[in-house]
Amino acid sequence: MSSILTLWGTPSAVSRTGIVAEHVATRLAAAGHRVDRLAVRDLPATALLHADTSDPVLRDALRLVEKADALVVASPVYKASYSGVLKTFLDVLPQFALRGKSVLPVLTGGTPAHVLALDYALRPVLTSLGATHVAQGWFVHESFVHPAATPGPDPDPHTGAPAEPADPADRVHRVDPDGVAPLLELVDAFSARLFAEGEAR
């Protein structure tokens, strides 16, 4: 068993990146790892942008990175690269914050033309942070991820509660199993490697 931090950087509260990150986190937890979750969006923006590490919430976040054996780092593709939100957090990490850790990079995006952002943008920054092993990552096309439908504008006429989406399947976040199957294969390989490393320690 390893301690894994799933980290994602997206400005939206409900994001395809967050849904994919949660999917990966659930998979790793089911395999028997201890999984923490960290959405950069939830950190105090001022402390983050001023690199104010005296902020207790930011300090806790940095502590999560420090104590993790491995990380899953997920970002949406913005302007053919990872998001600025993710980078603001990576920027407050110590220079070799990922030394001795394995990292699984994950991107979500709307066009296959940006798949190489994974290897040309995200991977180098993880390597530069001293990651011992940056595993083969995966780009998930956004069409495979379906956020839950938000309640409709008209309240239910009987209860006055916000109207539920007509199709019950739309009430929860979903991912297309076929679309994320290659990612989950990589997650399983990542997990197996962590178990092997744990035994060797």
């Binding site: 053919a80 296959p112 033309a113 798949v115 190489l116 952002a117 040309y120 943008a121």
Partner: protein, 200 residues
Amino acid sequence: MNIVVVTAGLSVPSSTRLLADRLAAAVGDRVDGADLRVIELRDHAKDIANHLVTGFPPPSLREALDAVVSSDALIAVTPIFNASYSGLFKSFFDLIEPDALTGKPVIIGATGGTPRHSLALEHAVRPLFTYLHAVVVPTSVYAASEDWGNTDGLDTRVARAAGELAGLLTGRAPSPRPAEPELIPFEAQLAALRPQRSAN
């Protein structure tokens, strides 16, 4: 205007050559008196390898290198192999002196079997020419296999890149972006929907 097209396709016919020809034609349409010359690197493959190890180019390769260096503009097209430019393409530009392309306007293009490798142009090919101090136009042109079935998007990018190169060569700004549709204020839209009250 001497415009040299360098294409590193390996097969005949090659989609890389096809893209090179499209770019050349688009530039030819926009630059008066454009004298276009295509250099197929596959024809020089052995000479390029020999030059790399001996330091001396055979005459035909020397002539090709001189043509590139003395051109007014360059169109450089490579197939994408292993998510980067091809070895043949890189080997050819390794034979160019580091400052020989300084200030030269360049269009970069690439072909590949999958759109997933589009960014190789921005992360591999563009930095190569930036290192050589060339001026690479903002639009790079990637053609995946599927782009040849429906070339609308490809044609647009080819035209934009050619317009940018022509702008650099003639000193005028490239054709402006199509105008944004005019924004009609919401009140005006609402007023248009309001039923006309008939005078009685």
